[in-house]
Symmetry: D2
Subunit: 307 residues, 4 copies
Amino acid sequence: MQSLLDEIAAEALADPNPGSVASYIPELAGIDPHQFGIAVALANGEVYSAGHAEVPFSIQSVSKVFALALALGRVGDQIWRRVGREPSGLSFDSILLLEREDGIPRNPFINAGALVATDSYLAGSQPREALGELLRFIRAAADDERIHINERVAASEIETGHRNFSLAHYLASYGNLQASVEKVLGTYCHQCAVEMTCRQLALAGRFLVDAPRMPGLVSVERRRRINALMMTCGHYDGSGDFAFRVGMPGKSGVGGGILVISPSRAAIAVWSPGLNRYGNSKLGTEAMERFAHRTGWSVFGVPHREG
Amino acid sequence: MQSLLDEIAAEALADPNPGSVASYIPELAGIDPHQFGIAVALANGEVYSAGHAEVPFSIQSVSKVFALALALGRVGDQIWRRVGREPSGLSFDSILLLEREDGIPRNPFINAGALVATDSYLAGSQPREALGELLRFIRAAADDERIHINERVAASEIETGHRNFSLAHYLASYGNLQASVEKVLGTYCHQCAVEMTCRQLALAGRFLVDAPRMPGLVSVERRRRINALMMTCGHYDGSGDFAFRVGMPGKSGVGGGILVISPSRAAIAVWSPGLNRYGNSKLGTEAMERFAHRTGWSVFGVPHREG
Amino acid sequence: MQSLLDEIAAEALADPNPGSVASYIPELAGIDPHQFGIAVALANGEVYSAGHAEVPFSIQSVSKVFALALALGRVGDQIWRRVGREPSGLSFDSILLLEREDGIPRNPFINAGALVATDSYLAGSQPREALGELLRFIRAAADDERIHINERVAASEIETGHRNFSLAHYLASYGNLQASVEKVLGTYCHQCAVEMTCRQLALAGRFLVDAPRMPGLVSVERRRRINALMMTCGHYDGSGDFAFRVGMPGKSGVGGGILVISPSRAAIAVWSPGLNRYGNSKLGTEAMERFAHRTGWSVFGVPHREG
Amino acid sequence: MQSLLDEIAAEALADPNPGSVASYIPELAGIDPHQFGIAVALANGEVYSAGHAEVPFSIQSVSKVFALALALGRVGDQIWRRVGREPSGLSFDSILLLEREDGIPRNPFINAGALVATDSYLAGSQPREALGELLRFIRAAADDERIHINERVAASEIETGHRNFSLAHYLASYGNLQASVEKVLGTYCHQCAVEMTCRQLALAGRFLVDAPRMPGLVSVERRRRINALMMTCGHYDGSGDFAFRVGMPGKSGVGGGILVISPSRAAIAVWSPGLNRYGNSKLGTEAMERFAHRTGWSVFGVPHREG
């Protein structure tokens, strides 16, 4: 495993075309795209990593996985009255299908749906408390108390997040927000601004791996369902392509991170800040394709072949 | 396994609300919805079945899986220049996204994309020859020479298929058909009119199972990719829900059949002609949810637990 | 003319089905729908009226005509870089086409386009000053210093206007607002909350009539163009129907008012608070159809026939 | 008037950028774009013309005006159950809104709606008879028996008209065609292939002018309504712009012709085969803007000022 990761990291770091860093969040726009990290947290407790696996990055939309888990813990299957479970076929911040469907977002991994999840785990409490609970969840999953929120990034997103404000007001106009737009957006932008290293993110992702020693934060049933949603909706309008190429559930963020789950074996985190045309990490996606090919960990093939 | 299937079939046949039979294909409109069959073809060669597993039905869109496999065999990855790999988020015969995307259908499992696949395996030959090849493929997969096309159903679909003619002319207007609209539609409607029993369909589906004794009609890589497409796009705008509930790749047809793949273990076929609001078999979908729950065969959980 | 208006008012007030009052603005929801007023301000200076022509009502979107005139006065044809001149084919607060067209609203009479017009006449000044200028414009046109803004209605709209906030943030996300979302919305909601009677509105509308004694607030060329926009876009997705039935340029508001222009003869105002399915006054639209039929004032027929 | 037309023709013919000829109808693709004709048929019987006013061209979608008049004569206001009266906001052959609205086209001047009009005047008769009636209508309006259909153009359109076949099958799938797709399309393509000179088209357009000596083929009421539809829907997604710039009802065709009506004064025909981005004649539109400016014939201004 270590030599595989080293190889993949070397290849990624040698790529002259790492994609472009997202420019719409000022705090993130200045990051050097020539960075790449990868980490694998196995079900047996071992952790492997390579490249810039210890550099902290903004997890952005990867946080939607934790937010959904927390919201499900709070309100259970009630949440499915307010958000769907279908791929949207459109980009992450699209408002189009929202209008066709009376304010019910397509799924909890596009921005509109994630706002509903945030509103669900807010559930009447103050943003500060809710964010505290979210951090406790992530820290417990990763077994690492150092994980924190970057306040400057959060502030930067609140200031420039007109598109998210637009989505939130849109939801509110259909009565699909319980807290105020300001509270939901404030919480949401802080949640996106959680910072982790690849190593921390891989460890935090273990709560979605179905194995004895993993952190038991959600039930087996729920774990499977979150993985299913990551498979069909985790990469916006590039979800089908990721399933086709990589064959494992994953959730990407505009900060360049991707969390990928091999349901019975491992949680994997890759990071490289340059993006492809879907807004997903370019080198990260390519690395995961290579990783899946080499390990045979696609859920669509035989699981017991690889060593 | 046998007792599980018996139980599932008994429950399905006792359901007072089997959904409504599709009415837009006159030849199929008269079928009794109170029927249910299930069959499982295991990787070890054993086959189990229950209910009306020996009643032939029209596989309709389940044929799109065989058509795609054949088209990939003919033209290889060239096909991805003419059709995408993303869920559409819209119904099976929608023309909406086609217009937004210059005549490139979203994926090969919605009607527009399946027409491109049919055009691809036609590849200059006559419909009769191409359909002969398709039948040979299906018969080889199922190891059953009796599988045939119901000519009356095919004729009925050609006569009433204005929506498909509309899609085909639309594709042609963008230069995304090579054969004539008439040839493509004629071939497509015959392909949809293939008749099989659950038992035959489960056996035919084994070419997508990754195990030593399975029919080696497509490469390991391609098998995984077809399974991935079935997972993200196999149930139209109900694909996300099927992944969430069942957790295995599947492809449904308006005739009430569903082919489901457990990638390393088995091919499963269910059939019940009543449909839910997405146009997928109502009892079939519910039965598969029960089956997945009881067997733990979701690809999103641990594969080695069940006996 | 007086007997015609009396007849039309009597018929309208006898109608047992006046439509439903808009419920989404709390301050307006309680209004009695069984009210109807009409007033005609002729080019020769005479004014006729009937029914509740002296009852003040909230002009709401009729204000978009004054806002556009003011914006054109401020920034001239520059405004057409930021907003189109085409009917939208969709409802007044739709966000759909906005997404297809990169933040350029279809026309200045749907809400998104009107927000751009408001932003244009704000032009760096404070909302209070800009609203002062708008009131001066309207008062000059109507020659009536009593016309004012209803602060409670404005406050009510700001509080509940999630859809408009959504549109404004959407525009801002494309850089198509210069002032802050809060300033634009605040100004917009006050502009919509201008109150007038039918008599006042008819008088105020004279600046769009092409005759010697009319208030010369805009040039002949601009007057024609505003009339053209009212014809093609003045009634949202009911614009074509209004042109077909009435044949004169008009602009409706959700408060139940409609301002209609007979370009060389008169400005006409009708008001009745119940709405039809397009969000336009039901009795008002029907009355205008009768008025157009009786006077022959359609711009699509011979103008010089009627006395 | 003669000197005005001479001036306008000279300016148009001197324009180095006449737009591009439509390429999708092979028979029309070879036409020299550096041609321009204009003709005006006044209510008093006088006819003026300039430029290539005697060169025959394919009227294409201008024929939709005659088709609608004929359909209204056949089925009356029943047609409005099958087609709307609203601008579509989309291009001439769009299928998008059709899907949102259950097979009811937006208006009779986009292709889908024109197919419904053609189906309406077919009304059970054979294409040959129906086309005979259409020609009689046009010849009577123009008082010219030489007007005919170009069979080669019609055949060329039938052969390459995949988009129109798509629309027709789409309508048929919703039950919104009474005749067969083949008959409707055959008739429609012949109707589009009517050939006229500017002089003939201006004369034929007089049936929409409201004056004593004009051919009385439709009632006053219907004339006004057809003019209203031409104003709001006559130039596809460029209708608002034409109303804004020219201010008279008009209908364009992809052959480069435009028929414009000054309701009480004249019918005007311009022709130049190069198109702008909406698919309307570039020089023709610009010439009409100049004509409207010089004559003051906009319906949105004072009609009695000009001599």
